[in-house]
Symmetry: C2
Subunit: 228 residues, 2 copies
């Protein structure tokens, strides 16, 4: 029997590759996607296609309105999404940072995991080709793992030990793409752009598009998405 795992799935390049890795490792996959009021809610559609491709056992899209709190250009059209940042020199954490997003995501994943008696949670965070978000760093992940093992009935009663799997955390974007291609990921159904147009067509100049395009370029591949 396959071991159940909870996969945090945004429908982007990283979480999709992460799902492919969990699939390859033989887990029974249960996806969690959070509709937190992101501008780029086109990714919710992408997440459904990915869950279907990888034959997820279950996939829940959870509504959680973080947009009402504001504080990020990803949830408020009053703050502009930065374009054409030079990611080699940029030092500040950009306005696309969403307060406590990965803390919220992992806590919802934990709730799901405990109800499934699953102890494995996959998240596609990356600390190499990324925007400098604090909640993508290995020390954040490691602290959350410690927390899970104090927070829950199953952990306290020694039914199991929670593990957060971050298979991408130390890979470059091109290495992620190469790994995904090998595992049969169809990147055409993924969506990374922070401000796609209403058809889902990516802008090609936000951080997410830039990292993605550079990744395909460095891997000697062509991104199958059509940029506008």
């Amino acid at each position: 029997m396959k071991k159940p795992a909870v996969i945090l799935l945004s429908g982007g390049l990283d979480s999709t590759t992460c799902a492919a890795i969990a699939d390859d490792a033989g887990y029974e996959m249960h996806g969690i996607t959070i509709n937190y009021g992101q501008r780029h809610d086109y990714e919710l559609e992408a997440s459904k296609l990915v869950a279907k491709q990888f034959k997820f056992k279950s996939h829940a899209i959870i509504e959680l309105d973080l947009a009402s709190f504001g504080g990020s250009s990803l949830v408020s059209d009053k703050i502009e999404i930065p374009k054409n940042r030079d990611l080699n020199t940029a030092k500040e954490i950009p306005s696309t940072y969403v307060p406590a997003r990965n803390t919220v995501f992992l806590s919802v994943a934990l709730a799901k995991a405990e109800t499934l008696n699953a102890f494995d949670i996959f998240i596609g965070v990356n600390a190499i080709d990324y925007s400098g978000y604090p909640d993508c760093r290995p020390k954040f992940i490691s602290k959350f793992e410690q927390l899970m093992n104090l927070a829950t009935k199953d952990a306290v009663q020694n039914v199991g030990t929670y593990k957060i799997h971050t298979p991408l955390i130390k890979l470059t974007k091109s290495e992620i793409i190469e790994e995904g291609i090998e595992l049969g990921v169809n990147y055409e159904i993924t969506s990374s752009c922070y401000s796609p147009n209403k058809y889902g067509s990516p802008c090609g100049c936000c951080d997410a598009c830039n990292l993605r395009l550079k990744g395909f370029h460095d891997a000697g591949l062509v991104d199958p998405l059509e940029y506008r």
Copy 2:
């Protein structure tokens, strides 16, 4: 100018007393109440009355469907809520435990806090007269506080240090009630019962009612609620 604080408010006896303590300490209060699909959603109404009494600067009721995950008698009418447990001898964690609830609640409170530039979060957890939930224990809270200070932009940029205030954690239920009475809490508007009837009338025999009734009794007071 008052310092802003986020108050996790269920509308029960503990979180209301916790709010009264934050108010007395001079904070500008921003309430977060989570509608997670609890059977006893009468408490949402109680939370509104409490927020009004203590003149909260803001109060958000956030929808987050943990009930769809199941796994607790508080969110599923397929699991019975335990009645008349002897809390002096009961050792197991009861079915009213909701997987990862306080992890989820604190993560949403953190998201709100960071958008407000607030570094103080109040939660009315209690580890004395309680049902043995793992996420009410001091070591869980202390780990979450460490997590907050790794997870967020404001912490990483040294804008401030997050603190979780747990003023009730080491008080007995009667001490909590005595403190609340002194601070002007009107316990008539609070709701603790896990299975109130449709009018909000408490059952008098679930853990929450038993702890509450014992608290009033030990304090030499009469609970103003009308039990059915």
